[in-house]
Amino acid sequence: MQIVKIVVAGPFNAGKTSFIQSVSEIDTVSTERRITSQSEQVKEKTTVAMDFGRITVDEELVLYLFGTPGQRRFDFMWEILAEGMLGFVVLVDSSRPETFREARRILETFRAYAPTPYVVAANKQDCQEAWEICDMRIALRLDSRIKLLPCVATVKNDVKNVLLELLYSILEEIDAGVGFEIIPSRDLNLPSFSLNNTSA
């Protein structure tokens, strides 16, 4: 059995849990807890360890989606999650410009962990307050070569599109001679508690 993983990173309340839930074939192994901090009362619950979704490709290949915890105090987990990833998605809440700087920091941190391909997904584009993609590109200081994709994390097709664009980028890198290296499953830092948690 070959296992590969994609990491979904992003600031607090960017929509990472919803993103993974939209395409995962298992009930997302989520570690959400009620928020106690006054400053982070944007939503009722937040992910305190990680989200974990699965897409079985065939009998020999499984893709795992890991959502990083959005709160800063859990960023010690990012490096562990980043190890051996095929690539990563940085999810940004288009309607909360106050999180753009944090998104940029997360992006740069993950780039430092591994020079793997990545895409940036501008979530909550259905929100009236959402910034336009061209404005977000400038605000996030994204080069025109970096894919910035509009999406709504609760819409399966949008999430599929983001993942496909990431995989196309990985293919392009392979064609350009910058192939990735497959990490043995035992080194992927997969949480053993959820590997058999199939429900759907």
Partner: protein
């Protein structure tokens, strides 16, 4: 789709950079609890600015920049005060009061000054109105934003450095032990002299600023220069330690070869398409 937010999270520098790069046309409205500033742009260039609290017409601007005397200002206000700025400008040029270049230069300084005020704002709601243009009858200019952004960035960096050096204005100052130095012999400016004379162990820096009518940035600048000269001392509270930089960790890998890699990715693509 809106371009809105708070300066607390998205600085003026970033905002102007965005407007410049995206060559936006419209009006940026920035609101603090006590003030509203409107700045209009045409294709990413500064065109017009208005401080919500000041309804300066062209005559007032020209007087402010010493192009008109107070007597001229009063006379023009009485005779031509009903005119729009454009009409007024033409009338002044035709009457050989001023040249077009002088008027535009004054307006550029005036608008840039209003825009520069925003760099001091650390908080304030902003939104960009794409269709909103400067009021009819107002004279517009075309000023590149690059230099304004650069100047603003330098000011912001200075502000951040001062904040870092003097984070807490509720601390008190004390005179250093400068044996043999007479303050009167030192080449201090007026602000520095006033601050020195206000130093008292029971008075906070904030109170000194207030009694000398100095802004937070100004008092920080003065205190910083006095500290650099070794004349005053301040007890800094313990700062928050920055997190240690995250180090790259080597990963153990197995090179799968290009055909295998492409096959794996194509299988993933086909699977995700089928979801």
């Amino acid at each position: 789709m809106s371009l809105k937010g708070n300066l607390r999270d998205f600085s003026v520098t970033q905002l102007l950079n965005l407007i410049n790069l995206a060559r936006k046309t419209g009006t940026l409205v920035v609101e603090s609890p006590v003030e509203v500033i409107l700045v209009s742009f045409r294709e990413g260039k500064l065109a017009y600015a208005q401080d919500g609290n000041e309804k300066d017409n062209l005559i007032a601007v020209l007087h402010r920049f010493n192009r008109l005397s107070s007597a001229q200002q009063h006379a023009l206000n009485d005779r031509l005060g009903h005119m729009s700025d454009k009409e007024l400008g033409l009338a002044l040029i035709n009457a050989n009061y001023l040249e077009q270049g002088e008027i535009l230069s004054c307006l550029q300084f005036y608008f840039t000054g209003i825009l520069n005020q925003l760099f001091a704002w650390v908080d304030g709601l902003f939104h960009f109105e794409t269709d909103r243009l400067p009021p009819a009858g107002k004279i517009t200019v075309r000023v590149d934003l690059e230099n304004i952004i650069l100047d603003g960035t330098h000011r912001q960096q200075e502000h951040e450095q001062l904040l870092d050096e003097i984070p807490n204005l509720d601390m008190a100052l004390k005179l250093s032990n400068c044996d043999g130095i007479n303050v009167r012999d030192l080449n201090l400016n007026t602000q520095e002299r006033r601050v020195i004379s206000s130093i008292n162990p029971g008075i906070s820096i904030r109170q000194i600023a207030s009694s000398n009518q100095l802004s937070e940035n100004e008092i920080r600048r003065v205190v910083y220069s006095l500290m650099q000269a070794g004349m005053v001392e301040i007890m800094r509270p313990e700062g928050i330690r920055h997190p240690l930089p995250i180090m790259n960790r080597p990963t153990r890998t197995v090179n799968a070869g290009i055909p295998a890699q492409k096959s794996l990715i194509n299988r993933l693509i086909n699977r995700i398409r089928a979801i």
